[in-house]
Amino acid sequence: MEVDQMQRQYLDYTKPLFLEGFLDGQFLQLQQLQDENNPDFVAEVVSLFFEDSERLLNDLTFSLEQKSIDFKKIDAHVHQLKGSSSSIGAQRVKNCCIAFRNFCEEQNIDACLSCLQQVKQEYCHVKNKLETLIRLEQQIVAAGGSIPTMEFSF
């Protein structure tokens, strides 16, 4: 595949992610931080996000399985996840976390369990998307091309 074809494929894949709200402008901020000195910056941050999120989701699952639920602890975990998803631009995950925190405050166990399921789903979706996105970027770079920048505004 030619570089320009790869670039078109990349844009065709990535643009809907923004339009459908999986990613927001903060992700573009991350991409803009990538340069020759830090050619893998996005991949590194995203990888940290995956590790951190998986740990938090495990902790949340564990905490919600306890006989006596520690809502403060759960809220603290969700706050962390909300923070990291916000910082990388994983908008849907962040929005789930916002709802989740509200239910923590209400100490509504069922709603929290439901939110946890939703967050896990959204996390899985965005993880898949990001992995593909990064693979497409790396393909372009390996072929000697540059990653096209998103041109639309939010």
């Binding site: 901020q29 931080l33 996000f49 951190d52 923070g83 910082s87």
Partner: protein, 147 residues
């Protein structure tokens, strides 16, 4: 972003490159703020909590400045919500110290709560920045500090 207070912005530095101490308990946020600051030509040291930050600033009762005075911190940027010591508490400790009280402290938070913002500004924070951090936030900050 809240407006800076009127007190002086001068960063004393014998070197051209400002040295920033960035404090945040979130790993992703630490990585992001570090990169943003480096892109604005700052030297960056990170800490994951208030006590560690105080240690690095030489403000713990041990007294030793772990940075050996060679590379004095010109700015502290800290998250507000941290377990244990909050950014606000860290700000207070810095402002209470004779050695570090002139160092500008910037508070970051994901929550836009006016009472929180005012509390920090009243305690001497130079600026309050809403997360997630963007390049424009950091550029504005470092530009003002460089004057």
């Amino acid at each position: 972003m809240a407006a800076p207070s009127s007190s002086n912005w001068v960063m004393e530095s014998a070197h051209d490159v400002p040295h920033v101490l960035a404090v945040d308990d979130n790993l992703i946020d630490r990585k992001l703020v570090e990169k943003l600051l480096r892109n604005s030509s700052c030297k960056v040291t990170t800490a994951e909590n208030g006590p560690r930050a105080l240690e690095l600033l030489g403000l713990t009762s041990g007294g030793q400045n772990s940075m050996n005075g060679r590379s004095k911190v010109n700015l502290v940027i800290t998250d507000y919500c941290m377990p244990g010591m909050t950014g606000y508490e860290l700000l207070k400790k810095i402002k209470e110290s004779s050695v570090m009280k002139e160092v500008p402290v910037v508070i970051m938070s994901s929550e836009n709560i006016p009472t929180r913002i005012n509390k920090c500004l009243e305690e001497g924070a130079q600026m309050f920045i809403l997360k997630p951090l963007k390049q424009s936030d950091v550029k504005k900050l470092t530009c003002q500090l460089m004057n």
